[in-house]
Subunit: 374 residues, 2 copies
């Protein structure tokens, strides 16, 4: 890693913040921000808003005009070297006469993947990358996951009572979390490429699974995905209402009606359980970077058991529902403490009267330090 | 309420902090701190360490010497007017020649209860009280509860997994919370006048229920209280080991052996369930200010149902134990959402890898604002 100056850090942090403005609209593209700096001053900046729209670098160059000549370009992601819906950003930076490019991370996209840097260097531009790499990787964790692992980043959203229940025995689950938490969930939906649920939740709760924000912020409507092995719920519900597309994922032996009316795809199934890894491959192939699962204990538990959960977004409402209520995750089959599933608390914040935790599952491990309480 | 100056607030805050130093040792007495200030400078301070020892005011007067004359005394609690194991503090303040006394709260102790203020005023001393009253009431919440409500302040300590379980189905409960949480629990034990458990926990976990701290801090050993209706566990366990006294509470029809070896008391019982309010009256009569319940879901749920829980100290370990594991509270019998038990999150902090919440049960209420998720 090269040495970076304080101004390098400040400008890259600025580029990352700009990039994040595209969180609700750039998909399937990555979020990218660019800041052009000459003589210690920002002369232009830009961020990628939506697919087919101008790239961050091009917007920054336009804003800088002649001041781009001799400037340093800070970009949160390697400039592209290929012609997609827009021309290569590497060429635009070369043509603008920038003298140095600092990128936070390499772009894992196969048609870029270092060739952007190569093209810049071949044109005599000084290139550095790796500054705030971890932050950039975290920002585009969905995009990176899709390209590197071949599956989207998977977030499981759950709301539970203090005693760990998501619903009463009757199935009643409304009003567990508060108004502020429900608004917060909408912002997490907005950054998801897909919102995934199961047929059980469609039957019990009939969610619409759309993004409903109080202001007029632009959001690319997330794909609604219903896992419905036997296509039992296709006649039902609000999940087919509204502007967002809906995709049903079913088992091969399901019998779809002729006039189905929504997209559908089949994946391998064992009994009534769809192959969840196959579901995620289907979604990755469709350019989905981040999936938010909003389902009941059965599906949440199945994703957890399959080791496919990247993060859990857990709203804890300070209420008690009692021991007969429904569990958070079903079917975990934990017989002794060494089998317990451990998580890391990444964040814990208050949202209205509730708490919101962000948790990352940890690999199973037997720890020797544990001692008895009491 | 009189107007108080900034220096009044600063000095009272100091008196409260001093008072809190006695949290592990003053019981059954209240914690009291005193700061003597003349011409804006602290000339003496003191805090009550243990029953029979000098009171805060007397220590502050001793420290101030002649400087006490004309000083203002800031005390976290009304100075006593009666002769207990030590002489009345009101008289000591009068003799020392202080010109003004500022108290945070009136002492609800029947032999004081305003008469300390009266005696000071009769001697020509300016008296004000109510400054930081809420903080002072919170500090001595156990003492106040015992005198005003006739029962101790009741804290239920629980450790649970993220999915709301306190133990596996097998009963295995060790290692749920981490080392840092277990150390933290010891500090909460240290400020408790009694540690209360049930016969089920004695059978399953065999806790010692003593205070084990890493440093040499002085702690008055909390009384260990075992609710054991039929005296089934008297032959067992570590709860009778160590220096702290142990009190068994049983039903009237239990048959205690002749050489029982520990204190015991009977309370009314319905079937196998002891009258928990009666248990708390017994403890209040013994001068217990704060009780910490460390028991399983059955007893924790019973105290909750009886409306006797003042605060829940909840350690949440970021692990999943699965839906078959044991619940946090048993027997809550909640059929619909209007019956849910609501709590207020007073505090949420990280303790090692765990979270620690302090929760206050709220009165049941049907709220109209609740809307549907989804």
């Amino acid at each position: 890693m090269q040495g970076y100056s304080e101004i390098d850090h400040v400008m890259m942090a600025r580029a990352l913040r700009l990039a994040e403005r595209g969180a609700w609209t750039t998909r399937p593209n990555p979020m990218v921000g660019c800041v052009l700096v000459r003589d210690g001053e920002v002369v232009g900046e830009g961020w990628h808003r939506r697919p087919g729209g101008a790239h961050a670098e091009v917007l920054a160059i336009e804003a800088a005009g002649d001041s781009a000549r001799g400037a340093t370009a800070y970009v949160s992601l390697e400039p592209c070297a290929h012609t997609g819906r827009t021309g290569p950003c590497a060429d635009a930076l070369i043509a603008a006469g920038v003298s140095r490019v600092v990128a936070a991370m390499r772009d894992p996209f196969p048609q870029v993947d270092g060739s952007g840097f190569d093209r810049l260097r071949a044109a005599g531009i000084e290139v550095a990358h790796g500054l705030m790499d971890a932050e950039a990787q975290a920002l585009n964790r969905g995009y990176v996951s899709r390209l590197v692992r071949g599956r989207p980043w998977l977030r499981v959203k759950l709301a539970m009572s203090l005693d760990g229940h998501t619903a009463l025995e009757s199935g009643e689950s409304k009003w567990i979390s508060g108004e502020a938490s429900r608004r917060d969930v909408m912002r997490w939906r907005a950054r998801s490429g897909a919102l995934l649920t199961g047929s059980g939740t469609v039957m019990a709760d009939d969610p619409q699974l759309t993004v409903r924000l109080e202001d007029d912020a632009e959001v690319a409507p997330p794909l609604r995905v219903v896992l419905d092995p036997g296509l039992a719920t296709i006649a039902r519900g609000r999940v087919r209402e509204g502007d967002a597309p809906t995709l049903y994922v079913h088992a091969a032996n399901a019998k779809p009606p002729r006039d189905f009316g929504s997209e559908r795809v089949s994946v391998p199934a064992v009994g009534n359980a769809l192959d969840l890894a196959a579901v995620l491959r289907v979604l990755a192939d469709r350019g989905i970077n981040e999936v938010q699962v909003e389902a009941g204990a059965t599906l949440a538990g199945a994703f957890m058991r399959a080791g496919l959960v990247d993060e859990v977004l857990l709203y804890i409402a300070p209420v008690l529902l009692g021991a007969q209520a429904r569990p958070l995750f079903a079917g975990l089959q934990i017989q002794d403490m060494t089998q317990r599933m451990r998580m890391h608390v990444q964040e814990s914040v208050s949202v209205g009267d509730d708490l919101r935790l962000r948790l990352v599952p940890l690999p199973a491990a037997v720890d020797a330090d544990a001692g008895a309480a009491g």
